[in-house]
Symmetry: C2
Subunit: 377 residues, 2 copies
């Protein structure tokens, strides 16, 4: 038997999560030599993602929301990349295949050939048709496939295609611009010929926004759900109005932004700041009428290639577009990305709390956990 | 010289309008025998519309909004129907033509052949290409053409086509259901095979909602910008969730409705209650993400047939569709409508204030002023 360390959901947080929300469990074991049949395989996890939306899953199971609650005393689940280290003769994977998808946060995962997904998960993920094999001919670090070439990158790419209706010369505002979604969104907006205003929570991050191509970048305090009011208003007045607004921050900031939206503006709904609840009430929604604004909430899971997506006849072509173009551009440097690595599942509680606070000790960018070395087999 | 009585904008209201907001001026005169040339014509006004959006125009000229401010000490302007009583030889109209469009609220209007529209008005209305000739082969009262077959009817018709994306079997919620937009919206939703929940502010209105076809109708207090909470929540829980929400009321009601929206729901933005300012802050906009909701503000002026609309290549075909189908259905009783008539421009202040309060002494329905008899020439 081999140790199969896990990151468990230990306690439902009241308000902000704390270190006690998690438990790093080293007592779990797995038999890596067990007999495999019926398409089963064992995946060794290389890296897993930490994302703000996971905060919303840290709730009592009876509270319904758009993503399933984490199960208490079970491993957290989320996006990860691993390598198949054993496979039954009839498995759809072969040893050495690198795979991407939703996985439990532990070192090894035994996946039965017919993966069973509970009803709640189906709503969120669609019945998984298995993990996606990633060839990585681009030679990117595997972590890129859970970041810029993974869920956050897809969020930016697909929401931009689906909602932005971007026209050359328009103005985009992208808050949380140094985060994994924001990074990509800034570059997509620039590629479409828009003027980009972006904000982030430190001067170092602001410098990075400019490196990504933002025309106007400013330092705000996203974690307080409010821009430094004077700065933001001045900047919007000078460089706005905003045609496409990537809404990452609700409350007072959102209210301010509505005042500076252009006629027929589009708002892509993200609301990172709402994961801990909304305390500020928005009082100027009449702007939607006055300026004929359009806002649409977006969750990338609706557009990932799953049976649910295909059955609903939602445009699943975004997925192929994405994998055909984005990893190459990342590898060639046509698209930049910045990651923030934490080593080992034991570092995940610290990493998650720092991420929510926007103060990663390892620097900003896409937060992930390196569970095993990239070249491990 | 003939008396040409006017309804003037007398005073900018602080908060709610009052009788002093208006002035009925009988000292204005017009020379009905004057020489007309260059395409000019004189229109005798038959009826004019009073609409909640006009509240927003009662503001200082320097405050920008989606519709131009009324000019102090000048007549109010809005939708009206009149009859051409004199026309220059080269006028595009002939004597006896009935016409519909934006007019000053007075008994007679001299219209120069090349109508001059100020820049502000252009933004709202588009450069008017003249008033629309209404044949009225259906024999409807002329007031219908500023109500169910006019601006409010078009609002319902065009917003429904443009935004609702209605599918048979879905659930629509239409607040302010007894108003001119709501009346039409209920019937359009039923015609598309939806289950309709609707609300209004009195038991008499509720009975009318059922007459219009609403499957579920309840009494709320729209004017307080809040449903009777228990009633609305119970009804939404039993008969919802809501797929298409015609948002007429902001604030707390809107917040409640968001909780009962269905996944991928659509919200048509109207916000009548916001015309006097929004006092209640909405705290659950995260629902837009959780349920992938789409909301779009709508103003019918964007879709009325004007040069601006045509130039922007917006789908102006709605206008022809509307006039080809709706007046006939109204005449045949396939679509019901209810009006509330006030006689004479002198009654307009009272009518407007009663309309805003939702308490018309003449009964509920589309509020209009009969300025001259329907058959007057």
């Amino acid at each position: 038997m081999t140790t199969n360390a896990q990151l468990l959901f230990n306690q439902i947080p009241k308000g902000e999560p704390t270190p006690e929300t998690f438990k790093y469990n080293t007592e779990n074991k797995i038999d890596l030599e067990q007999k495999l049949d019926n398409g089963a395989h064992i995946v060794k996890i290389i890296c897993v993602s930490l994302d703000p939306y996971m905060r919303g899953r840290m709730r009592p199971a009876e509270v319904k929301s758009y993503s399933p609650a984490f199960e208490l005393h079970k491993p957290l689940t989320g996006h990860g990349v691993g390598v198949v280290i054993r496979a039954a003769a009839d498995s759809q994977y072969k040893v050495g295949d690198h795979v991407y998808g939703m996985v439990p946060y532990q070192q090894f995962v035994l996946i039965p050939g017919q993966q069973k997904v509970d009803e709640e998960s189906k709503k969120f993920l669609g019945p998984q048709v298995g993990l996606r094999v990633i060839k990585n001919e681009e030679g990117l670090p595997w972590s890129a496939y859970i970041g810029a070439a993974g869920m956050p990158g897809k969020t930016a790419f697909m929401a931009w295609k689906e909602i932005a209706d971007a026209k050359k010369g328009e103005v985009a505002f992208i808050s949380a611009g140094s985060g994994p979604v924001g990074q990509m969104a800034i570059q997509l907006a620039k590629a479409d010929g828009l003027k980009v205003i972006s904000s982030a929570g430190s001067d170092e991050k602001v410098a990075f926004l400019k490196e990504l191509g933002a025309d106007v970048a400013f330092n705000c305090k996203l974690q307080s759900t409010s821009h430094k009011t004077d700065d933001a208003k001045k900047i919007f007045a000078e460089h706005g109005p905003i045609d496409v607004n990537w809404v990452n921050v609700g409350g007072k900031s959102f209210e301010e932004e509505l005042e500076f939206m252009n006629m027929h503006g589009r708002l892509i709904g993200g609301w990172i700041s709402a994961y801990n609840g909304e305390s500020y009430g928005v009082r100027n929604l009449f702007q939607f009428v006055a300026k004929r604004l359009m806002m649409r909430g977006f969750i990338v899971g609706d557009f990932e290639a799953s049976l649910a997506v295909l059955q609903q006849n939602i445009n699943a072509k975004y997925v192929d577009d994405f994998y055909a173009t984005i990893p190459k551009k990342l590898a060639f440097g046509d698209l930049k990305f910045k990651e923030c690595k934490y080593d080992g599942l034991e570092s995940a509680p610290k990493a998650f709390l720092e991420m929510l606070a926007g103060k990663q000790s390892g620097g900003f960018g896409k937060v992930f956990i390196q569970v095993a070395a990239d070249d491990s087999h």
